[in-house]
Symmetry: C2
Subunit: 278 residues, 2 copies
């Protein structure tokens, strides 16, 4: 008895993000459980969420959840740190399918990785101000020291393609200086865009700091969750452009270009949805 | 007979933008016609518009116009280049009060300023792709050469306070290099954020290039428009925090901080509106 026996194991898994960043989570899910079908929604019309208030993020999230439920998904992955940080605790009570975010998996991995107990978290302004990483980490071990730092320019730099660039090095150096000074040994990449500049971040903080990518941890927990509820897809994957479906609230063509740079295979098309109607 | 005799000259002027950038237009209007009352709306929940499709910008603009009409404004200023570029031609047919954007005033000023006929335009991706500055300039003089350049990182740099910063210098140098190479003598600041880094831009393009700030030109044309229709406010201004009203779709506190850095007087408060309900 899990309460989820009625769900169809062959149904897709809904994955959503404020925009394109959640594709780094999609990439990890495809690596870990390649036979599952994914249905992705990116709120490209209203991106970014990281600068918005909790009330606005909650309202937008409820619209997206209604859209995903209309598509009969069997589970939902909140592939956005901001939504996971400010809205998931309220939203998970309202949803009739298993739902996971990226924060708790990242927290567990960070707590397991640290040796000196000093953990840095870099994320959007909304995620840092929510204090959620610090709160969850201290639930695991109250002696952990958690240093959060908002890095608001990382998303525009990544979205404008400055992945390997002296400007990104300079900005990263400024953001990370105080974390380095405080001698962290573990750093959580608390925004789904940040794994795309992982090598820059690693170079600046040094090899002795363990980078935690919550996208990777989330894909592992998703697999465990599907097993627990007995809703793993049992049929073989049919690899091809139509296996996964991609929806956005604006600019499907721009999304496809970015998606093809993040994912290893071409997606044939993304469709636009007027999310305000949900 | 102008068709606008029914409008109340004492009513406020509606001014709107995708976010905070339109405050540079507010600043110029207050300088030019200080006794007029302004009612500002900034779509801070859905900013930026410059990366969105025409359809989405049109849908959002219609919601804002409905909100401003519900507030009984006597005229509307589209203090956003992206909306002026991609939506104004369609919207102006649907509105029952005088409406002006920032593009045509900027175009007229640029055409008047150039000596060698080579005009640069820097703006968002949506504005540049609309080709509107080039189209309007060539209506005035088909021999004008117009060189457009999208500068997508300027808005996040300004919004993160990097107004005088080596990173902004570096990014501006990259964006402006080809305009300098093409020997422009006039440069339109085609996004309302850009006047806030005017001195950086002037230093990079050199003193021989005339910078055109459409916000300044728009305030002059607004004054002429109100005179033409006989709807200039006749009562004296009551200077104080409640003379102008400010509405946003999200994060009123953050808006107030930015507004106080742009405007010369403190605004007492901004109110939040759920713009999706309009």
């Amino acid at each position: 008895m899990t309460g989820f026996e009625h769900l169809d194991p062959q149904a897709p898994i809904g994955v959503f993000d404020s925009g394109v960043g959640g594709l780094t989570v999609v990439r990890e899910i495809i690596r870990q459980i390649p036979n599952e079908r994914l249905l992705y929604f990116g709120d490209t019309a209203r991106v970014p969420y990281g600068t918005k208030s909790k009330e606005t993020v909650l309202r937008y999230t409820r619209q997206i959840i209604r859209f995903l439920e209309s598509q009969k998904v069997k589970a939902i992955v909140v592939a956005c740190n901001t939504v996971s940080a400010v809205a998931l605790e309220e939203i998970e009570k309202e949803v009739d399918v298993p739902i996971i975010g990226v924060v708790r998996p990242g927290v567990r991995a960070a707590a397991a990785a640290t040796r000196n107990g000093r953990i840095g978290v870099i994320a959007t302004k909304a995620t840092i101000e929510s204090n959620i990483y610090a709160n969850y980490l201290k639930q695991i071990d109250p002696k952990l020291e958690v240093l959060g730092k908002a890095c608001p320019l990382f998303v525009p730099l990544v979205e404008n393609g400055l992945l390997e660039d002296p400007v990104t090095d300079e900005i990263a150096g400024r953001y990370l200086a105080e974390l380095i000074d405080r001698d962290i040994d573990t750093l959580v990449l608390g925004c789904t865009h940040y794994p795309l500049i992982r090598s820059t971040i690693q170079r600046i903080v040094g090899e002795q700091v363990t980078l935690v990518n919550p996208a990777y941890e989330t894909a592992i927990e998703l697999k465990d969750l599907l097993d627990k509820y007995g809703i793993r897809k049992t049929t073989e994957p049919h690899l091809g452009g139509d296996m996964h479906r991609f929806y956005v609230s604006d600019d499907a063509r721009g999304f496809e270009v970015f998606a093809n740079s993040v994912l290893k295979y071409g997606i044939l098309s993304a469709r636009e949805v007027n999310i305000e109607n949900y």
